[in-house]
Amino acid sequence: MVEFRNVSKQYDNGTKALQNVNLRIDKGEFVFIVGSSGAGKSTLIKLMLREEKPTSGEVIVNGFRLNRLKRRQVPRFRRTLGVVFQDFRLIPYMSAYDNVAFAMRVTNVSAKDIRHRVPYVLGLVGLASKAKIIPEKLSGGEQQRVALARALANNPDLIIADEPTGNIDPELSYEIVSLLYEINKCGTTIVIVTHERELVEKFHNRVITVENGAIVGDTGEVWDERQ
């Protein structure tokens, strides 16, 4: 599902964000990535999304060899995954419904499918009753759930979340991760970057620890109960 082979990333300004990373996440896994600030977690995510290209090494996600992916093939690749960010990235003037519908519309989904799918995913995240509300009138946790619904809209095989709970209250953080956990039970692979140690400890899942651009710890199969 996700594979890094000897991946190093050096930014244009010379910062060595990742060095010789090897990593493998299989289909159906639920993985936390932890590490201190500046460790290289977001860089890892950006490489998975093909927002950045590795300086050396190979990245394979959902069967796409990202090094060789041509620019015009990127949209097709991105449609196979869902992304959630710390800052939600919702369009402020659109209702919860339209924010989700927007993501489907711009990927050429038919109007009929949109009408069926949007209420369904909003229901999954528990926002069926707030479909018509614009983001600024929703709480942080609710906004993140809209973002999660959007990530789910195109039924992805993999969901990648970079600090999805960074901007919301700790009690609500648990709710969001629980939601992702439920989604994972249906077979969707989940990768979550987080700072919150306690949160990680509540879910007994695989934890990958990144420090100074290298993977220094991986609980691997030990914590992964389903393997």
Binding site: R71, R78, V106, N108
Partner: protein, 301 residues
């Protein structure tokens, strides 16, 4: 592309125009000004050309045949003249016809010519209309080489003046149009740049969910096209009004040469189709180019 998505793209373009309405209005204003200047320069050039052409047609080259030319030789000369390049209409004036003309002009004193043989005082001559007045000098030079011709009279100075008027008008026109097209492109590009900036959030979301590049770019194309076409429409009516006004205004000027030239001004009914086509093409071209070419730069999709 599905119907609902096409609707979405158009709606996005219009919405963006409205959200940035001040900016859009300013852009349309500058574009209208550019197009008015382009249209004005074009119409001015067309009319100057029309008047110049008329003046040119009034200027003919007169070629005098040698004395004692025979009828056969006149016929031969006539054929040669027909084969000389750059010569339009050819009018043969025989000695007798020239004599008649002069007699008429002299009126009562016309009989002074009676004592002479017309061939002696009036050589056979040809009135020649020159097609391209800029080439007149060469044509006259060619004519002088002909053994049956003794003299060629040509209004060379007038020809030179008219030729330079034409050149100035057409070079000036091209220059003005060129500069203004570039200005228009930059205006559109700048408007689009601001829209891209305002919409950077939507654009980044579209990229993450896997929208195609063309899909992301299309609303900007729609916006650019609408700016261009709206400006073209407004400029067309403005130019129309101004043109009619100038035609009316010149009618009231008491200058004989303006009145003379006025007859050769081209009425708007004959100009509106090409003008509309030119404005439409410019509006579409500038709108599409300004938004598509430059949007690449601001939009790393």
């Amino acid at each position: 592309m599905k119907g609902s998505n096409f609707g979405y793209l158009v709606k996005e373009g219009v919405r963006s125009l409205w959200v940035n309405r001040l900016m859009s209005a300013a852009a349309v204003g500058v574009l209208v000004a550019c197009l008015i200047l382009v249209g004005g320069a074009g119409l001015f050039a067309v009319n100057v050309n029309s008047v110049v052409q008329y003046v040119e047609n009034q200027n003919e080259v007169v070629a005098f045949a040698m004395d004692g030319i025979t009828d056969d030789q006149v016929e031969e000369l006539d054929m040669d003249l027909h084969m000389t390049p750059n010569i339009g209409e050819i009018t043969l004036v025989t000695s007798e016809e020239a004599l008649e003309e002069w007699k008429e002009r002299m009126g009562e004193n016309g009989d002074v010519f009676d004592a002479y043989d017309p061939g002696e005082i009036f050589p056979v001559m040809f009135r020649l209309q020159v097609e391209d007045i800029a080439e007149m000098e060469d044509t006259v030079f060619t004519l002088m080489q002909h053994p049956y011709l003794q003299r060629v009279n040509s209004p060379q100075e007038i020809a030179n003046t008219l030729t330079s008027v034409r050149q100035i008008v057409s070079i000036g026109g091209v220059l003005i149009v060129g500069i203004l097209v570039v200005v228009s492109l930059l205006i559109i590009a700048n408007t689009i740049k601001i829209t891209v900036f305002n919409r950077r959030k939507e654009i980044s979301i579209m990229k993450y969910v896997g929208a195609n590049d063309s899909f992301i770019r299309l609303p900007f194309l729609v916006e650019g096209l609408m700016l261009g076409l709206l400006a073209a429409l407004l400029a067309f009516f403005a130019v129309w009004g101004a043109y009619e006004y100038v035609l009316h205004w010149t009618a009231e000027i008491q200058s004989s040469w303006i009145q003379e030239a006025r007859q050769y001004f081209i009425p708007f009914e004959k100009l509106y189709k090409p003008l509309m086509a030119a404005f439409g093409a410019l509006g579409i071209g500038v709108g599409a180019l300004g938004s598509m070419v430059f949007v690449r730069k601001y939009l790393r999709v």
